[in-house]
């Protein structure tokens, strides 16, 4: 059984259809890339999956539970972690506290008290390699550090599924390689399925994901193993059919 | 009899409402562009009232001439407070800007008190009355109403037809987007704050044309609260929505009195106030963008 299943999910804003009849399946431990140009509905899809928006039509099933109408704070403990395109740390709290918040509220176990979650936070911070920043206020970190911290925060939730929104955008290629290795390692150890959303860094897509889902104007046009998908004429059309500036613009 | 009274009240309410609307446009403009609630709003209205009073009683100038003077003073005050204080608080949490504008209000009140004293003053601009049968309308009130409508119209034109106005509208919609499109956001902030304060000070002139007594350094408090309700009626961020919000508010305030008076054992006037706050809450819940917005 798939870990996450979307059945004909549609989300509209006013008259604008942001996500159109999307169905997809993601298996436990699978690495999936969601690719699509700016405005293709990727972020909306993420927001629908973790409950920031409710879809107008369709169902979302996670780990055998229908979560279509579940508010986000109830989905997270089921095992859905998330990072944001522009990092959203709890600025006044320290890195350690930020990560501890993930451990405290992001799991189903009610027994995780404050002390336990701080311990969990310490472990994860060590693993991610943020040790020297642990006492620093999250708002004072550099953008790359913030991204790492967000990943640590999401991992502290012990997710089964990790949604990463443009996690590698704006990073130096060397850092990207390092980070991909790190995330992959942890994900394999913890059996986390990763859905990474990317706009144009194809290198990272190739290096990391096993499967690619391509969105175009809210609809899914391709859902195939990475290599196959990249050679798909529809993908080539979506990417080359648009002027390069647009695909490089930050949404 | 009842019908006659209620018609009279509604006419009065409409005239009053136009001035109320005018007195809220500055608040809405500033909120729309800078996302700052000017809690010291009433103090700027008070400044306008004192400008009128001073020009009329000391120099003998008609309140109509006070309008441009008040606008100029308001623009200067706006620029002064923008560059010394507000500019640093745009990105700060609400708490800071709320407290800062409140303190600015207190500062203005105390300075005016130091200059003019805390006496309640008034002036008498005798320009006749208009008898409508159901009610009597002094011409000064009518001028205030017409003045408000003209200013609201001018603002509308300026907003929609000029370059600076368009820039301002784009900042209301999306300040980041406007920045990317090459709008001088900081300049627009300063301009909007100054114009917002200018409008508020002018509304002080019109309000004293409407009610030329009770002019005192602390007169603004009640108007601030009313302006909040009106601004919400018109959709907080929309200056000309605020104008129509004012009309609606004036009608409610004056119209509901007769209905509450039918309930025995209550104080109907206090209940009209209660009603306006109930309406405020209802609108905030069901339609925070205001009654008139299309969204």
């Amino acid at each position: 059984m798939a870990l996450l299943e979307l059945k004909n999910v549609t989300k509209e804003f006013g008259g604008l259809v942001a996500v159109n009849q999307v169905s997809l399946e993601i298996d436990s431990g699978e690495f999936v890339g969601i690719v699509g140009p700016n405005g293709s509905g990727k972020t909306t899809l993420f927001n629908v999956i973790n409950g920031v928006f409710f879809p107008e039509k369709g169902n979302i099933i996670f780990d055998g539970v229908d979560i279509t109408r579940l508010p986000p704070f109830k989905r997270a403990p089921l095992g859905i972690g998330r990072t944001f395109q522009i990092p959203r740390p709890f600025s006044s709290a320290t890195v350690r506290e930020n990560v501890a918040v993930g451990a405290m509220f992001g799991t189903l176990s009610k027994k995780v008290n404050v002390d336990d979650s701080l311990e969990i936070a310490d472990q994860i911070i060590d693993r991610i390699g943020l040790h020297e920043y642990t006492g620093k206020q999250a708002g004072t970190l550099t953008p790359v550090e913030k991204k790492l911290m967000e990943i640590a925060r999401a991992l502290a939730m012990k997710p089964k599924l990790l949604l990463m929104d443009e996690a590698m955008a704006g990073m130096h290629p060397n850092d990207i390689d390092q980070m991909v290795d790190l995330i992959k390692k942890i994900a394999l150890e913890e059996k986390i399925a990763i859905v990474s959303m990317v706009e144009h860094i194809m290198r990272a897509v190739v290096g990391m994901v096993e499967k690619v889902i391509v969105l175009h104007q809210g609809s899914k046009i391709v859902d195939a193993p990475t290599k196959e998908a990249l050679e798909d004429p529809k993908v080539i059309e979506v990417y080359l059919g648009h002027p390069p500036e647009e695909t490089h613009a930050v949404s | 009899m009842f019908f006659e009274q209620i018609t009279g009240n509604l006419i009065q309410g409409l005239v009053l409402g136009s001035v109320y609307g005018m007195a809220t446009m500055g608040l809405s403009l500033i909120f729309g562009v800078l996302k700052i609630v000017n809690v010291g709003h009433g103090a700027f209205i008070m400044v306008g009232a004192f400008i009128t009073l001073w020009l009329f009683n000391t120099l003998g100038l008609s309140p109509i001439l006070a309008i441009p003077a008040a606008f100029a003073v308001g623009m200067l005050l706006g620029l002064l407070f923008y560059y010394t204080t507000m500019r640093r608080l745009i990105k700060a949490p609400e708490l800071a800007s709320l407290l800062a504008t409140f303190s600015i209000g207190i500062l203005l009140e105390e300075v005016i008190k130091l200059i003019f004293g805390s006496e309640f003053r008034g002036y008498n601009w005798a320009v006749g009355k208009l008898n409508l049968g159901v009610t009597v309308l002094p011409m000064s009130k009518l001028y205030a109403c017409i003045g408000s409508a003209i200013i609201a119209l001018l603002l509308y034109i300026w907003f929609n037809k000029t370059r600076a106005g368009t820039a301002m509208r784009s900042v209301v919609e999306d300040s980041e987007g406007a920045r990317v499109c090459g709008v001088n956001v900081d300049g627009t902030y300063a301009m909007s704050f100054a114009i917002g304060i200018g409008l508020t000070v002018v509304s002080g002139v019109l309000l004293t044309m409407f009610i030329p007594v009770g002019i005192n350094p602390y007169m603004g408090g009640g108007y601030t609260l009313k302006a909040f309700v009106i601004a919400v009626l018109g959709g907080l961020a929309s200056p000309y929505g605020a104008f129509f919000g004012g009309l609606v508010f004036g009608l409610i305030e004056n119209g509901s009195y007769m209905l509450f008076a039918l309930i025995p054992g209550v104080e109907p006037f206090a209940l009209t106030r209660f009603l306006s706050f109930v309406i405020l809450l209802i609108i905030l819940l069901i339609r925070p963008t205001g009654l008139l917005s299309t969204k």
């Binding site: - | 009899m1 009274q5 009279g8 009240n9 009065q12 309410g13 009053l16 008190k113 805390s118 006496e119 309640f120 003053r121 008034g122 002036y123 008498n124 005798a126 009355k129 008898n131 009610t135 009597v136 309308l137 002094p138 009130k141 009610i211 030329p212 007594v213 009770g214 002019i215 005192n216 602390y218 007169m219 408090g221 009640g222 108007y223 305030e253 004056n254 009195y257 007769m258 008076a261 104080e267 109907p268 006037f269 206090a270 009209t272 106030r273």
Partner: protein
């Protein structure tokens, strides 16, 4: 850097302790009046007047009267006042300081019934005489306070004189409209007016209130107009009284008489309204022009103390440093000084209980008029005067023995007044 801030903190603590411990150890060679005055905040205007009135009368006692006679010696009066900002928290804290640090002999309450009530328990528990010149609420004196003594008259009596006067002037007038501010003080006045009006056989055709801080009275006044009253009583504070009169003019509502409490008697009222205020009346505790004098006191067989009216006005101007005529807030506060001085002399002591007893037995007349309290401390000996604007001047029209001119009744309509007609008898 760290050292620096430590020093700052330490010095802050030091300053704090110093402030706490600083105590005045002045030797007792004078009698001190303490006063948490309202010099800022919502009662600033009344508070400034009161301070001026008190200063004027203390000046008179110390210079003209030579001081308070105690054991055959003349002891000067001293005045210690702070600004309570019209706030209850400040009232009690300043009261505590006045009683224990400054060791005053008597405390004058701040303006308003609320603030007076807030301070009362503190003065009671310190066995301190607490003289009330700005709290008119009758209920202050049913609370069982032992040391609260009133100089201002009770609120229920404010419109009694006006009703008596109209009853005698125009027996035909029957329909009275009451429109007061929705506040504890004005409601109490309204209650008193209603009871008295019914006693005199008037019919109350309109009885409504308007909220504090109102800026437009149109709906209320339209309803009032429809009730067709013979005369109108109302008001609450100064600002709404001004608005009341102005909007009556705007809506062209005319009646035979209009009396507004706490507003119509002040000069600023006419300054703001000019001709519209012609003929408008107001009850007052005191007005410039009342004919209380030493000879008047002799006539009715009462003891007299204090400056004459003109002397008081001159002293007041000197005290505030401005050329303004004092209003009743100043007069009642000033008269309170005189009451205290007399009581101390009678008791030949400044012990609180003894002075309180002497005050209970005291009746006298000053420029402010009669002064007498009942057992609870409520002022019963002072009668209010009614003032009417006639040709831009305040004429005292009631009571007969104090009046400086005749009542104009009915008053000209607003249309007539706009054309320049003035209210003259």
């Amino acid at each position: 850097m760290k050292k620096n801030s430590l020093t700052i903190i330490l010095s802050c603590v030091a300053v704090f302790c110093f402030c706490f411990l600083s105590n005045s150890f002045a030797a007792k060679k004078k009698i001190v009046i303490g006063h948490p005055a309202c010099l800022s905040g919502k009662y600033a205007k009344a508070g400034e007047q009161a301070v001026g009135g008190i200063k004027a009368c203390i000046d008179w006692v110390n210079t003209n009267y030579g001081g308070v006679t105690l054991d055959g010696k003349k002891v000067p009066l001293e005045y210690k006042y702070y600004d309570c900002e019209s706030k209850k928290e400040s009232v009690t804290s300043l009261l505590g300081r006045l009683i224990t640090v400054d060791k005053v002999n008597v405390v004058f309450a701040p303006y308003s019934s609320g603030l007076t009530l807030r301070g009362a328990p503190v003065s009671e528990s310190n066995r301190m005489l607490y003289m009330d010149h700005g709290g008119a609420n009758n209920k202050i004196f049913t609370q069982g306070f032992r040391y609260v003594v009133q100089t201002i008259g009770p609120a229920t009596a404010y419109h009694e004189g006006t009703l008596n006067m109209i009853h005698m002037t125009d027996p035909e007038a029957k329909r009275v409209a009451l429109a007061y501010e929705d506040s504890e003080f004005a409601k109490m006045v309204m209650e008193g007016a209603e009871t008295h009006a019914k006693k005199l056989g008037f019919e109350i055709v309109f009885k409504r209130t308007y909220p504090k801080g109102v800026t437009d009275l149109t709906p209320l006044l339209s309803a009032l107009k429809a009730s067709k009253p013979d005369f109108i009583l109302g008001g609450g504070h100064f600002e709404d009284g001004q608005l009341f009169n102005r909007q009556m003019a705007d809506l062209d509502i005319n009646s035979n008489a209009l009396s507004l409490i706490a507003a119509a008697t002040l000069p600023a009222f006419y300054e703001a309204l000019t001709s519209m205020a012609e003929g408008v009346m107001g009850p007052s505790h005191w007005e410039y022009g009342v004919k209380y004098s030493k000879s008047e006191a002799k006539k009715v067989g009462m003891e007299w103390i204090g400056p004459g009216q003109d002397e008081f006005v001159a002293l007041f101007k000197k005290a505030v440093g401005k050329d303004t005529i004092p209003d009743y807030h100043a007069a009642e506060a000033g008269a309170q000084v005189l009451a205290y001085v007399l009581a101390v002399e009678k008791a030949n002591s400044f012990d609180t209980d003894t002075v309180r007893k002497a005050l209970g037995d005291l009746t006298f007349m000053s420029f402010y008029g009669g002064w007498d309290i009942d057992d609870s401390g409520l002022q019963v000996g002072h009668s209010m005067v009614d003032v009417q604007w006639q040709d831009g001047k305040r004429i005292i029209v009631w009571p007969r023995e104090a009046r400086t001119g005749k009542l104009v009744y009915p008053i000209p309509t607003f249309a007539e007044k706009a054309k320049g007609k003035i209210a003259t008898p």
